[in-house]
Symmetry: C2
Subunit: 360 residues, 2 copies
Amino acid sequence: MGPGPSDVSPEVLAALSRPTIGHLDPLFVGMMDEVKALLQYAFQTKNEFTIALSAPGSAGMEACFVNLVEAGQKVIVCRNGVFGDRMIQNVTRIGAEAIVVDSPWGRAVEVDKVEQALIDNPDAKFVAFVHAETSTGAVSDAKALCALAQKHDCLSIVDAVTSLGGIELKVDDWGIDAIYSGSQKCLSCVPGLSPLSFSDKAVNVIKNRKTVVQSWFLDQSLVMSYWSGEGKRSYHHTAPVNSLYGLHESLVQLHNEGIENSWARHQKQHDALAKGLEKLGIKFIVPKEERLPQLNAIYIPDGADDAKVRDYLLNHYNLEIGAGLGELAGKAWRIGTMGYGARSENIALCLSALEDALNQ
Amino acid sequence: MGPGPSDVSPEVLAALSRPTIGHLDPLFVGMMDEVKALLQYAFQTKNEFTIALSAPGSAGMEACFVNLVEAGQKVIVCRNGVFGDRMIQNVTRIGAEAIVVDSPWGRAVEVDKVEQALIDNPDAKFVAFVHAETSTGAVSDAKALCALAQKHDCLSIVDAVTSLGGIELKVDDWGIDAIYSGSQKCLSCVPGLSPLSFSDKAVNVIKNRKTVVQSWFLDQSLVMSYWSGEGKRSYHHTAPVNSLYGLHESLVQLHNEGIENSWARHQKQHDALAKGLEKLGIKFIVPKEERLPQLNAIYIPDGADDAKVRDYLLNHYNLEIGAGLGELAGKAWRIGTMGYGARSENIALCLSALEDALNQ
């Protein structure tokens, strides 16, 4: 119950150990088509370019920036936690300019500040933000931010690492242009893959670049033909076959449950956890209306020893909760209720175990 | 028995489905220390910087180039197949200059040509080559090439994707400065990880760079502290926990067998395969003394239908052999005898099945 990797179901773990077959085997290619369709469902998109990148979410982030942004361009980057900060580093390493819009840690991105930045920078080409800040537990208004981006003729780049599968996310309805996620959060697959989806508008930007993408491995123009349903699958790199077995299984589970039901389940388990934490006198970092149900960032109670409590939970209850990150290091704990981890028995265990740990 | 992913043992497959734990969990961190020690054994190195990169071999290649090479520098790149060509693309995307030394496909890199290029380019900083060309089945003289690089005050960058674990490879004895491999060849783990090792000299080059590494995800200066045995493990990205369970198990198996025994086993199984292929009248692409035991590139016999034969093997015998790549597409098959795949029963199956397929 840390900030991820989340609990992985026995079915997904079992899928991982199926015999490894070739990445160009027709059976495997057929499974990839299913992974693509299931990811389109999870993202709520018809985007033709919807894939699982063969590397973790941080590589998914980099793939969005290096494929879309060229040196010298301006990107509005919203920062309200660790991952917004990482976006800035991605932008500057391309030789592009990051116009940083800061919002307080533990709060949503302030939409009016972003609008002002867009007015002040009419030559900006992109708006980038984190939908669900894993470092603070705050959710931002992705729909409003993407509408703003469109109004100002910018493409939106959205970090959905912790949001995908856990809270409402509608790529097509909201007009998101580039989005990446991670396999190990609310999808409850093992870490190592990054679901990725680009709108046709984003794909056109990639196709009309003036300069070559600086990364060969992340150059999506080289990968498109491998994931495309038509013609010959050309070889780019060896796909992580077994991890994709796991992702396929976790996406099948999400599809079977129904994505709206998954969102509702995350909210329900969060409510139960929040109620119990309140009884223990524990306070959330994030105001209720900006709170992620799947990532519960709470203040470490006065007198409690950060590392000692986490060690106790791990050693006595086989239960992991996360430490604070960045500005919140030493001040916060992060309790994940993601994917397969968002179950009543986990909430009950966590509350009892935490109470015990705090009484030691 | 394609060019990889290779056959994965039941023990490695079973390891993959162990419960996912946190990437900062002390148990996991302890396992990472073991992975590091086992990789040092596999590479025959004491290099402190020896890790498994959280992405496939192509990302390992890129990690070597983007961390070591800076824009404007000269790199001697040896090309005798597809992967030498990919190295060139990596060099140019950094804004560095590739001095290309071409050797024929299906042959070893010509050492004297490399020496001439070094004489002609006294300002070159690196020599990059592929130890075992997966696209052609040729092995190059890594020891001689690294000695040349040292003589001319260059760092060596070596692709050992298909060589690691399958043929003699001695990073410290040969003075290799940067080397990358893949998990899915002679280590017989699942695809998705890239073992990586840098000499202290290479690490110093990274520490003294004038410019920032263009990739955030592949910037190894950010990863060093995560893999280091000392002090706090700082978070960089979420490690692919379950894939690392698999790599750990495959490295334990290699260690138990003994690396010299593994090299000898690959040679022995190759000899058996070569003898059988000869009986079938099939010819190798590569002359005997430059031939990789673990990757057998052969000419498609006259009158045989490339795709039809491979489909027949797959559908009737559940046996994969690889197609030709690049210049050899449509002209060659590639039979892998790598890692757990290098067993007598596989050789026997392959020879009988191929004979049957050719008689259809």
